[in-house]
Subunit: 408 residues, 2 copies
Amino acid sequence: MSPISPLAPASFPELPVVPGVALHAYAANLRYSGRPDLFLAVMPEGTTVGGVFTQSACPSAPVDWCKNILPSGYARAVVCNAGNANAFTGSSGAASVQAEVDTLSAALGVPANEIYVASTGVIGETLDDGQMVAALGHLVEAKGAAWPDAAKAITTTDTFSKGAVAVVPGTHVSGSVVGIAKGSGMIAPDMATMLGFLFTDVAATSEALQLAVSSATNESFNRITVDSDTSTSDTVLLFSTGAAGNEPIDGPNHPAWADFSAAVFEVCLDLAHQIVRDGEGANKFIEIHVEGAVSDESAEVVARSIADSPLVKTAMAAEDANWGRIVMAVGKAGEPADRDKLAIWIGEEQITEAGLVHPDYSEDRANEFLKQDDIVVRVDMGMGMGSGSVWTCDLTHGYIEINAGYRS
Amino acid sequence: MSPISPLAPASFPELPVVPGVALHAYAANLRYSGRPDLFLAVMPEGTTVGGVFTQSACPSAPVDWCKNILPSGYARAVVCNAGNANAFTGSSGAASVQAEVDTLSAALGVPANEIYVASTGVIGETLDDGQMVAALGHLVEAKGAAWPDAAKAITTTDTFSKGAVAVVPGTHVSGSVVGIAKGSGMIAPDMATMLGFLFTDVAATSEALQLAVSSATNESFNRITVDSDTSTSDTVLLFSTGAAGNEPIDGPNHPAWADFSAAVFEVCLDLAHQIVRDGEGANKFIEIHVEGAVSDESAEVVARSIADSPLVKTAMAAEDANWGRIVMAVGKAGEPADRDKLAIWIGEEQITEAGLVHPDYSEDRANEFLKQDDIVVRVDMGMGMGSGSVWTCDLTHGYIEINAGYRS
């Protein structure tokens, strides 16, 4: 067990009950012991859902299942096990998912095709269906779980549990959005995956939820990178019980859309930043902000090129303002750039201007900024109005230590 | 100074004189001491040249210069300094290149626009033109250098000098292709770059040289990756003195084309492999071979995705057959793939078949293969006839050690 990340929040946040959502957590000892490793949320009839999944061409069996049932737009439950990803398990993987949903369908009295499934852990090991079915029976009984247990139950190599809440201000609709997430590398040692489950009592159609969760994910979970690796199981789901009783939000023209989608985004961004703060071996939380690009898309590509560069990330680990590596990463991004218009800042210290070292640049001052836990690198391309940020962490001996260790 | 890579060849190869090429090497103490740090090759009138350069949008001043003069197709000299990349140096960078070529033009009595320039080292530091001009004077006098000194003079953080030779078999044309190269990370700590200089006495037109060096680079230097980072200064040049006296090779229809282009490729691949063997912190030389892809291009993308994955590279460092990470890297590549057709081998051990663990798979046997210095990972996509290889090294504490250290 790794020590808690030095970048972790001081404590798990206070998360409110989401009316209509019943939480279950159970320690089934499937791989871990002394902690919950099964999570279940049961929701009332009429609960709507939106979701986004890994782009991997080799997705896990649970991802296949969720993608398949999502078009109905309705959900009654979501279940997650930690320790086995049920990925690359061939036809037995799909059979395991079917066994899980059939078991829960019978026990909860809800349609099987409204039960969402996520699995995280080792790739390539077949689930023991008998053991899982028995464990799910206990999970159904394990009612009244609190958010900290729920958040803990979905973790694998995470060094802290991740939760976030945003209140919809109530101008038009009153309610809250609560989320839990797990993730520590884009895919951890051989445990895997980034998962996020969000719940709201604000009534919204599945189309509106899909739009809210897709755009929020695009600007949050899709803007973080620990090691550029992508899991076979990444899943973000947003459920609405509708218990707030409002006229359902049906899209961007609804008066409460702006407040609601902002709350969804706030929770996603908070959880995404927590995942970076739990990046394997991370000692620095780094925002790469690119502006002056030819488009927002171009800015994101450049920011990601910098954020994914092992040479930039090792320089940050060393608290060394080795800005030549930032120039290198801008150059290799493949986006429109003009070396002689490039301006770079570390913290508030401007390093380059118009393709040259700034006359007032002080490497000592830049290195002072790099001693902080939270670092901002800013690049002005001088090409246009596009901007965007990507968040990452530094690359340290800790990352090698964690990932070059044998599977236990 | 890092110790010599454990993957280094036993010794620098015996390289023949290339008729017409005069080598110079000089220890100018520009950044390093006790070793040559300036290299010059002078070639006879009529020498032809082909070249390829970094795709970086922020190229160094010498790269700008070389790209600009290459269309003439003729060369009389190539000069290289180690220690300062003359990159991101604004207008003074171009002025420095001009000072260098003017000095050499006068001293050698050759046209300035037939002098190729390469610089490798720190990014963002302006060259001291007075010091460089004086040093070039000594370099012009330092005639009769041997290949080992020439190869040493272009290195920065390399732990060994790199040279290779291939003999054109003489069926149609008799001669040789000799090359030297440097490179240790795609861009080293703050030293930088991959450079390759190839010389042949076989007469060939500049168009034929361009075709030979472009296609050879595409299958060699462009197929290696240490850390996925790309330098601002990467340069490969191929010079033909024509001293062999053959009817110049003018393209693929010439009877000697196949033998000649094969010799160029052989030298490029040998040098490219040596660069990987000198990868920062490398303990393993790894070939990733992908077959059964929908096209050769697709195979290369998948192979690169595996070769660039920090999680695959750390598993190799640990000698751990953590094949789930290979599945992950195939999945994230964005190329056509079918999880249920995927077959994976480490060495001769088949791990998966048709999307499942192979019934005879032995993790112990796979780990035995991983104990060797040279490792082959083979992936059959089961989709088509495309194939291709990428070469890389493992990701170790040594990489972090080298790159997270301060610039001296």
